[in-house]
Point group: C2
Chain length 105, copies 2
Amino acid sequence: MTPKEKKQYEARAKILKALAHPTRLWIARQLSDGEHCVCEFVDAVDVDFSTVSKHLTVLKEAGIVESEKRGKQVYYRLKIPCVLKFMECIDAVIQAQILEQSDLL
Amino acid sequence: MTPKEKKQYEARAKILKALAHPTRLWIARQLSDGEHCVCEFVDAVDVDFSTVSKHLTVLKEAGIVESEKRGKQVYYRLKIPCVLKFMECIDAVIQAQILEQSDLL
DNA sequence: AAAACATTTGGTTATTTTACCAAAAAAGAA
DNA sequence: TTCTTTTTTGGTAAAATAACCAAATGTTTT
């Protein structure tokens, strides 16, 4: 791994890491049908306001979402929609695991 | 988020998390051209034997790679190759970040 | 201007992750 | 069998993450 490669993989891992949390992944999924404000997530997720806000900050700093303040609310939207394509592949991994488990019986 | 959804997103996040490390992402990439043994990674990555081994265990437990012992060596290979498709999208995120930064000048 | 609302920030604590070293295990070579 | 070689496991310390509460910020509404 050259120093250049190392930097490149660090940058990539940072983005993956931003998505690698159940709540953040769920949020990203919700944003696939258009923008939502923070309060909508808070209602749905059952964690503290501040926790949701911090998750959104992580996604934003990773460059996955962008936000816009309109009135009292802040609206978030997906910046790079392809992140949702991850889901299919991830589910293939899960599916393979389930199959293996049933093979053991 | 229903309890079922919650479990689902936790399982998905677990798999993403396994990939969300520079070394592990690099390893996954190397495996795209076929299997490699642990020692090959150790030579290339410049971390301890045990560290590489633990990274491989993380990938294995996530169901992303599988391993086979032949002789003294243990060979790892990608189990679900689509994980590599992540890379394209991740790079799109990085590309967008770079573009934005240059817009600021 | 004061009150109410939506969101972010700062601080704290508990948990998880990562890396290293040393030691154990497994297989082959001498 | 004893000595290497390859990989995993256990232990430990440092760093990163995640959740909560309380306080601060910025915007409307009264």
